[in-house]
Subunit: 344 residues, 2 copies
């Protein structure tokens, strides 16, 4: 019992292979009678079309590639993990598969993707880690590779040339700020990153907007720090802010937030039932600690990106960038109560 092919099946059934092919790809062309007979034989034999042959003929591999980065801090890793999982899920539902790629620079990434594309192994790619003057999309598009990105094209005022989906970080920190304002806080600090990254600036802006909208004086915007993205740094930053009168904190990450939590606790500030601190990314560590955090809803992002990209891929030829429309997803604030470790 070898695996059947289109021809072997057709032979056994006494029909042409074209008929079998039609039953699969254009059932309406086949007489119901023969169609059912062929269909039965197909399912009974467990026949599956060979993808290499399909790919060779249709000139598409139904495969996309995405680069994974070495886990630096374990935080970003957790978010990417979730994104990856749901991305693969969403793609599978539409007949696409995801190939993993590693690279040690953006140039290398372009090179690897281009190579795979020119060999016909992939139809498109998903970029992450968008940055100012990111030339990957144009370079790859020049090669004819379909491109999409998880992350907006920073620093571009014109409409982007590729499909992208991103999470509105500013909206997230603004929600966090408003949450703390509602809880009665007025001295809400912001713990940000040293490197003035676009993502970092975006998150800070949401905090600023929230304070301004609440009619707080301009000096409230001074209550902020910049540091590296580490627990220890968050602790130290929070100590400084506390001595400057802060009574709550919005943070650019969960690492910083956990450090701040420790500083608040040592200061003897009431943390029960809810700490006046909000993190970002809703890491497993946050949920384990009972820390409130902004959730990026990467599931929705993966789904949205997949929907747009596969739609674009299927109507291959014409209107390549017609619906290169963007989409900014609103993150959610997850409010938690601290575990018994922090009860007074």
């Amino acid at each position: 019992m070898k695996r059947p092919t289109l021809v072997s099946l057709a032979r056994e059934l006494g029909v042409s292979r074209q008929t079998v092919s039609n039953v699969l790809n254009a059932p309406h062309l086949v007489k119901p009678e023969t169609r059912e007979r062929v269909q039965a034989a197909i399912t009974a034999s467990g026949y599956r079309p060979n993808v290499a042959a399909q790919s060779l003929r249709k000139r598409r591999s139904m495969t996309l590639a995405m680069r994974i980065y070495p886990t630096l801090d374990g935080i970003n890793g957790a978010v990417m993990d979730r994104f990856l999982h749901h991305l693969v899920d969403a793609l599978r539902g539409r007949g696409y598969h995801l190939l993993l790629v590693t690279a040690d620079s953006f140039d290398d990434e372009v090179e690897v993707l281009r190579d795979m594309h020119e060999r016909g192994r992939i139809d498109g790619c998903i970029l992450t880690d968008s940055h100012v003057d990111d030339d990957r999309p144009t370079r790859l598009a020049d090669d004819g590779l379909a491109v999409c990105a998880f992350g907006r094209p920073w620093g571009r005022t014109d409409e982007a040339s590729h499909i992208w989906v991103d999470v509105d970080g500013a909206a997230g920190t603004r929600k966090a700020t408003e949450h703390l304002l509602r809880a009665g806080h007025r001295r809400i600090a912001f713990l940000g990153w040293t490197d003035s990254s676009d993502v970092g600036n975006d998150r800070r802006r949401g905090w600023e907007d929230g304070l301004r909208a609440a009619g707080l004086p301009g000096e409230a915007l001074e209550l902020r720090t910049e540091s590296v993205d580490r627990f220890q740094a968050g602790f130290e930053a929070a100590e400084r802010l506390l001595s400057r009168g802060a009574d709550a904190a919005v943070c650019a990450s969960d690492s910083l937030a956990l450090g701040a939590l420790e500083a608040f606790r040592r200061r003897g500030i009431t943390l029960f039932p809810r700490a006046p601190i909000v993190g970002f990314d809703n890491t497993p560590i946050a949920s384990a600690s009972g820390l409130s955090s902004v959730d990026q809803c990467v599931e929705d992002a993966a789904e949205a990106l997949t929907a747009r990209f596969t739609a674009h891929l299927s109507r291959q030829g014409p209107s390549p960038t017609s619906e290169a429309g963007a989409r900014l997803l609103e993150p959610e604030l997850v409010v938690r109560e601290l575990g018994s470790l922090f009860t007074p």
Copy 2:
């Protein structure tokens, strides 16, 4: 300037396409003179063989698949992240590619992998999360799919039918135990998991062996707890153990270890410069906190598994399981000093 193919190149050069093919796949068959001429044209034109055509003809896709699990705790995720990255790296060096797959059960996983194999999309797969009575390897092998696993075949006394690589958890906890013994501790507790998993038992065994080898009385083996794998649980478990006289702890995970750290600190135990606590997996959180931990060396595991598996794949037909030999890698103990947060 369209992308060249084997025929178009051959036409331009005035040779047969077979000659061009030979230059790439069997250079020794071609006269040096023509070989160089063809080679030059190949590189100049940027020609790349089409993988669909290659796959169709050679009946191999040079692609492997691996399932990713939804990140439950963020801990396991961090380890898998590292493994995945190095796996892709190692595979690429040998001409293989990795396809990602999701599934919601082991049966589903088998089904998905089988389907991709019968369509000719993959040549093999990498399994993780091995468990007792794991029938995935045999079921997949029955289908003709090449199988390897990161994780030993638990509960099988006979030689496994597939290639695998694993990390010797017991050796890791034993190293941790010996480290604490050298530091002068004699009441070394073990914080384990409730579910009597093979991995968990393995790690506990290393601690037991360490204590026995040190000649400690049998009652020393009583100083252990079982709980769920969470910070809070580790804290509570450690509190109980402390009241039973423990002065150090080996833990089955970093989550538990961090909880234990907090309990030790509240008890006023000296944690400077090094806490008498060792975690497992060497998570980013551990390195951020200055917690000593057992590192699984997943880089080595990925490399070793890839080496064995690709070797097996390349000599396809004969001796399918001839070198299904196993390999148990020894983890390393990473000793750290706590950050200034814990200085007295």
